[in-house]
């Protein structure tokens, strides 16, 4: 779940990146509208947290343009201007949710999860695959009647794999999910996390596709709705 954060205040921007990473999101942060345009051009985001007032233009204009291009990207507007008519303007111009400053980090994470889930067409917050019921809000999963909790990084990788079960994700794609964390991604980090995930979920849950990457094993026996 890579999130684009557009916020011009550097303390808040930093707090959002770190705070959302604690909630299991990977994010990339930019400070200006033009940087945001460039990042959106590059793509690869599942959602966007957008500040309304940017030094080089309005976040709302950015959003309107994004929608005019037909992008369905889930967008949560984050702004100090949170009077009802301003919220209405934001929502009517294509925002999926609106949060006034100052906000609660956990509420922001929950709202982000909600709009991302809706964008994926799911009403239930939990994702089920092959006997695992994954709860993104808690970064926990239940498998074979046992509750397993994951570190933010483990969760980020598991989340990436479970988004499209069966699809092969290369090492670099998974590394990208870890991009934005303060420490650099070391060469073996992905392997280390895959190893830990296997020990929690069973060795067969994640398959290694030699030379290509990783994928979740196809559903075998129990299907949990």
């Amino acid at each position: 779940m890579r999130i684009l954060i557009v916020e011009d205040d550097d303390v808040l921007r930093d707090g959002l990146v770190v705070g959302l990473s604690l909630a299991g999101f990977t994010s990339e942060a930019v400070a200006t509208r033009s940087e945001a345009e460039a990042a959106l051009e590059a793509g690869g985001f599942s959602g966007m947290v957008l500040d309304l007032m940017l030094p080089d233009g309005s976040g709302l204009d950015l959003l309107v343009r994004l929608r005019a291009r037909g992008s369905p990207l889930p967008v949560l507007m984050l702004t100090a201007r949170d009077r009802p008519h301003e919220r209405v303007a934001g929502l009517d111009n294509g925002a999926d949710d609106y949060l006034g400053k100052p906000f609660d980090l956990q509420e922001l994470a929950a709202r982000l999860r909600a709009i991302l889930r809706r964008a994926e067409g799911r009403a239930d917050g939990r994702i089920a695959w092959n006997g695992l019921v994954l709860d993104p809000a808690r970064m926990e999963g239940e498998i074979a009647g046992e509750v397993q909790s994951f570190s933010p990084r483990e969760f980020a990788i598991l989340r990436a794999l479970i988004e499209r079960p069966g699809a092969v994700l290369g090492k670099s794609a998974l590394e990208e999910r870890l991009y934005g964390w303060q420490e650099g991604v070391e060469s073996n980090t992905v392997e280390v996390h895959i190893h830990r995930l296997r020990s929690k979920l069973g060795a067969a849950f994640i398959e290694t596709v030699r030379g290509a990457g990783y994928r979740l094993a196809s559903e075998q026996t129990r299907k949990i709705a």
């Binding site: 011009d8 205040d9 707090g15 770190v18 030094p55 201007r81 906000f103 980090l105």
Partner: protein, 470 residues
């Protein structure tokens, strides 16, 4: 005292004075007239008596009676209070009383020669005309009482004053009512104003009937427009300030939550460092908001007093030295060219220079320098205070915008409040100076304050040499 009562008293006093003067004048004129007419009658009567005696057509006693009509039956009965009979005495030249009329007093009416005289006989004042006939050797004296004369004048005046006195209360009432009607437009304005809420600043309704009230209404409406626009800008400012303070606050909150949620000590430490940074920045923003309020409240005007600002600027620079050290920026000052500014509030200048220096320090890259120079320009008429940095500068298309409140440049990267240059601009407006921002030669920004000087001091260079090169 109400305007109505005051006007009423003035009008009553004025009317009363005019009336009293008229009465006094009429009285004086009537008295003079009555005296002339009655005097003429006295002399006529005296001559008539004398001629009757001279013609021997009547004896002396009867002659005296002629004047008061006692001898003949009067054609009409005069009203008792208008009874003003003449009295007559006939004396011989030697001094013997030859005859007198019935109403005449016992004492001699006049001892003077012929002609008019006044005398007091038996406690009554008399007006006497004496006609002397030397051939007959008699003196005929005809007189009437002064009391009678005064009564006559008095009754004329009473006849005049009485109806006026009866009209007076009606006049008073009419004046009072007219004043009320005349002042009604003012009353209406007052009623409209007093029934208004404090926030209602809409224009007052026009009073087409009263052209005197219109300037007042126009004045009030003008004032209300100004108050409304001042209040509007205050409201916008407050709303902006509230919004602007929310961003650093949410930065603080987010970082605090990160510190609380994270189990990693490095992440916690980093969040705490960010919190400190945000507190510093919020502190500066609050200070700038207060500065803004202070500069705004200062108004314009005030006594222009010569002020030496070198010490003040030294103080500002000293305050910022530690900030410059932290940022690794060298802060050079050149305040040797002493200017004496025509500056009533040096504090505002301090605020302005402080904001310029803070901006310059924020923009300056590591290991660069920021310079503050003060020097007289235009042959000492003005003083230039220049702050120059080697930062990214302000793009030309933004130069006009950056002095507006809460406008941040693209290069600012959200570090400032967007108030600094607005404060400087406003302070210059209050001090009668001006702020110019130009790209400095060789990169960076040159901010120049130009303020009026009292007189040229120190060395003054030719104006051209010290003009900004850009």
């Amino acid at each position: 005292m109400s305007m109505r009562l005051r006007l009423f008293l003035i009008l009553i006093l004025a009317t009363g004075t005019v009336w009293a003067s008229a009465v006094l004048w009429t009285r004086a004129r009537t008295e003079a007239h009555v005296e002339r007419v009655l005097d003429a009658r006295l002399s006529e009567a005296a001559r008539m008596v004398a001629s009757l005696i001279a013609d021997n057509s009547i004896d002396l006693g009867a002659a005296a009676e002629v004047v008061d009509g006692g001898g003949t039956q009067p054609a009409y009965a005069p009203a008792a209070d208008y009874e003003h009979r003449l009295s007559c005495q006939i004396w011989s030249v030697e001094g013997g009383l030859l005859g007198q009329s019935e109403g005449a007093p016992d004492g001699r009416l006049s001892s003077g020669p012929s002609g008019f005289s006044t005398s007091e006989v038996d406690g009554q004042a008399w007006r006497v005309y004496t006609a002397e006939d030397r051939d007959l050797g008699i003196r005929v004296m005809v007189a009437d009482t002064m009391e009678m004369r005064e009564n006559l004048v008095g009754s004329i005046i009473t006849a005049l004053v009485l109806p006026a006195g009866l009209v007076l209360p009606a006049l008073v009432g009419m004046i009072w009512i007219s004043l009320g009607r005349g002042l009604a437009p003012l009353d209406r304005v007052a009623r409209v104003l007093s029934s208004r809420s404090a926030s209602d600043l809409t224009p007052l309704p026009d009073e087409p009937a009263a052209s005197e009230v219109r300037p007042l209404i126009e004045g009030l409406n003008g004032l209300m427009t100004r108050v409304a626009s001042a209040r509007e800008s205050e409201r916008t400012f407050t709303a902006f300030a509230a919004h602007e303070i929310k961003t650093p606050l949410s930065g603080l909150k987010t970082q605090a939550q990160v510190a609380a949620l994270s189990s990693d000590p490095a992440t916690k430490d980093r969040a705490l460092a960010q919190i400190q940074k945000a507190v510093d920045r919020t502190d500066r923003m609050v200070r700038q908001l207060l500065d803004m309020a202070a500069v705004e409240a200062d108004g314009s005007g005030g006594d222009e007093a010569p002020a030496r600002v070198t010490e003040l600027l030294d103080g500002v620079v000293e305050d910022l030295t530690s900030l410059a050290r932290v940022k690794g920026v060298a802060l050079y000052t050149d305040l040797k060219e002493i200017c004496v500014l025509q500056c009533s509030r040096p504090l505002l200048l301090g605020i302005a220079v402080r904001n310029l220096l803070e901006n310059a320090l924020a923009a300056a890259p590591h290991c660069s320098e920021v310079t503050l120079i003060m020097q007289p320009i235009e042959e000492g008429r003005n003083c230039a205070i220049r702050v120059r940095d080697h930062g990214p500068g302000i793009p030309a298309d933004e130069l006009a915008q950056v002095t507006r409140r809460f406008v941040r440049g693209r290069q600012a990267k959200g570090a400032g409040s967007g108030l600094g240059l607005a404060i400087v601009d406003l302070a210059m407006e209050r001090l009668g100076g001006r702020l110019t921002l130009t790209p400095a030669e060789g990169g960076g920004l040159m901010a120049e304050l130009v303020l009026p000087c009292v007189a040229k001091q120190g060395r003054s260079r030719p104006a051209a040499a010290v003009r900004p090169t850009a």
